[in-house]
């Protein structure tokens, strides 16, 4: 590994992790102001311009609070849970490609941290680890509410992982690869010149099922039963305070970012340029020295902007849905997962297999 490799790897990690983490205060702000707007309120607007520094103040408060550990908890696992909560979605983010490649000093830099051949499975593996903080935090806190939240959370996440996996499998059949870069490249075409061949247009039912299960996986409303603040206080993180709670809070939003990145990569063309961006690329490219490297860099920059816009849109949808739908009851949640989404995704998978067998090959 040369020094260049090391530096570019480090820079990519800094960009992805930095973006994921620094988007959280903005997301929290947006969650609060967005909810206010949706409910005809004004929302936090006192701290900083448009209240943007509100979450900075909140984080500062969380940092300065006494780091209190209740006496009845299992200390090791109690402290381990928030760490895993944050590590799992950040780990999953490292296989998301955020651009084709850039040319730096004549060398090709692939804009993806870990160029793993089976990137999707890897991503799923890390997403699967998100169950552990819920279980561990709930169990280690020795509290009825936290255990209830942990039980709900783990069963919910395990159940919806099946529907999610099935809908991903149907996309694997279509793309014929585990490699996320190849998947995105597959979606780079267009029909009739303007309709992009995004996965969501090819496999809409799969996209819908995936989208619904993603909500359950990230514990967002309408599936936020592990937290269920109306019934079980705070769910699995009832006993957490100060920055340990902050870590769970951070993890929830990083998981949202990860989920949005995943759905935009799998179903919405990933870093492919948004319709109309091609013109923009050639326009900006006219101002460069016109070398292929510079043009490629301009393209990579717009690809990065494209995926950022897509991720931003899905983050907006996360907030939007949260402030529209009420929470499901637990049996309704399980019914939806096992009796509707699981059979539907299975049938969808079979249909996709038959279609691709008869029509594509």
């Amino acid at each position: 590994m040369t020094l260049f490799d090391f530096i570019q790897m480090f820079a990519k990690m800094a960009v992805v992790v930095g973006l994921a983490l620094s988007s959280v205060p903005f997301l929290v702000w947006f969650e609060r102001r967005g909810s206010a707007w949706m409910q005809g309120r004004v929302g936090p607007n006192r701290v900083g311009p448009f209240g943007l520094l509100q979450s900075v103040a909140d984080v500062l408060k969380l940092f300065l609070k006494e780091s209190f550990i209740p006496g009845h908890v299992n200390k090791f696992f109690y402290l381990l849970a928030p760490a895993i909560a944050l590590a799992a979605p950040l780990g999953a983010l490292m296989v998301i490609p955020f651009g084709s490649h850039a040319m730096v000093m004549g060398q090709k830099v692939v804009l993806q941290i870990a160029q793993i051949d089976s990137g999707l499975i890897f991503l799923l593996a890390f997403a699967g680890l998100e169950v552990y903080p819920v279980i561990l935090g709930g169990w280690a806190s020795h509290n009825k509410y936290t255990v209830l939240g942990a039980l709900r959370g783990s069963s919910q996440m395990v159940s919806y992982e099946i529907a999610m996996g099935m809908s991903i499998l149907s996309m694997l059949v279509i793309y014929g690869t585990f490699n996320l870069q190849e998947m995105v490249a597959w979606q780079g075409d267009s029909w009739l010149g303007f309709i992009p061949t995004w996965g969501a247009f090819i496999n809409p039912i799969g996209a819908l099922i995936f989208f619904i299960s993603i909500f359950a996986e990230t514990n967002r409303l309408p599936f936020d039963l592990p937290e269920g603040d109306a019934e079980i206080v705070g769910g699995y993180h009832t006993e957490y305070g100060a920055m340990k709670f902050g870590m769970f809070f951070l993890a929830e939003y990083v998981a949202m970012v990860m989920a949005s990145a995943l759905i935009s990569t799998l179903y919405f063309g990933g870093f492919n340029l948004l319709p109309g961006f091609g013109l923009l690329v050639s326009w900006v490219g006219g101002y460069t020295d016109g070398s292929p490297d510079a043009l490629q860099n301009v393209k990579a920059a717009f690809e990065f902007v494209s995926i950022l816009l897509k991720v931003g849109f899905f983050l907006f949808v996360f907030v939007w849905v949260r402030w529209t739908l009420p929470r499901f009851r637990f049996d309704q949640l399980m019914d939806l997962g096992w009796k509707v989404l699981f059979p539907l995704s299975f049938v969808n998978l079979l249909v996709v297999i038959f279609m691709s067998y008869f029509f594509v090959s």
């Binding site: 299992n74 696992f77 793993i116 051949d117 089976s118 499975i121 890897f122 799923l124 593996a125 890390f126 699967g128 680890l129 169950v131 552990y132 279980i135 561990l136 169990w139 255990v147 942990a150 039980l151 783990s154 069963s155 395990v158 992982e161 585990f178 490699n179």
Partner: protein, 177 residues
């Protein structure tokens, strides 16, 4: 000693430490989580061998599914009593302990004699990293091997799993009827 060997020693050492911790843990959840740690270390070892697919599958299946069910069932069952009554000095524990050590030493001895671990170098299999990358990545190679060369064994194993599932359903049904 290069970086890979260091990583191997680290992962292997953590795995070995966690195995002992799992055996000695009084708390069932702690034991299950040690097992989870071993799974993660194994996945890391696979990843180190450039077998990303196997590593990811290890994580998905063992860490993501099997261990969750383990911990889930441990949490649902009340294992306080076992935790309290468990003693390291009972005769049965001592007997198992001794037998385990004897078997372990036997295996190590056999390995040393059979493979001559310290003298000759290991014979690598038909695939190495460069060749796998040449053939289109390890996922492809694995799929080809699994669904052509080892097709029969693959199907037999899935049949065995099916039998296990049906057996579990039958047992559960008899209990609840």
């Amino acid at each position: 000693m290069d970086n890979l060997n260091l990583a191997f020693l680290f992962l292997g050492g953590v795995a070995a430490f966690l195995s002992i911790a799992m055996l000695l843990a009084k708390n069932p959840i702690a034991a299950a989580l040690s097992l989870l740690g071993i799974m993660l270390c194994t996945a890391g070892l696979y990843g180190m061998m450039q077998e990303h697919f196997i590593a990811a599958i290890q994580l998905v299946v063992y860490a993501g599914a099997v261990m969750v069910l383990f911990i889930f069932s441990i949490m649902l069952l009340n294992l306080k009593k076992e935790e309290r009554d468990f003693k390291f000095t009972t005769p049965s524990f001592m007997a198992t302990y001794t037998a385990g050590i004897v078997i372990f030493i036997g295996i190590i001895f056999q390995l040393l004699v059979h493979y001559d671990l310290f003298k000759s170098t290991m014979i690598p299999g038909p695939f190495n990293t460069a060749e796998v990358a040449n053939l289109g990545g390890n996922t492809k190679v694995l799929a080809h091997a699994l669904f052509s060369q080892y097709y029969l064994s693959f199907e037999v194993i899935s049949l065995a799993l099916l039998v296990a599932i049906i057996g579990a359903v039958v047992l559960a049904k008899r209990k609840f009827d």
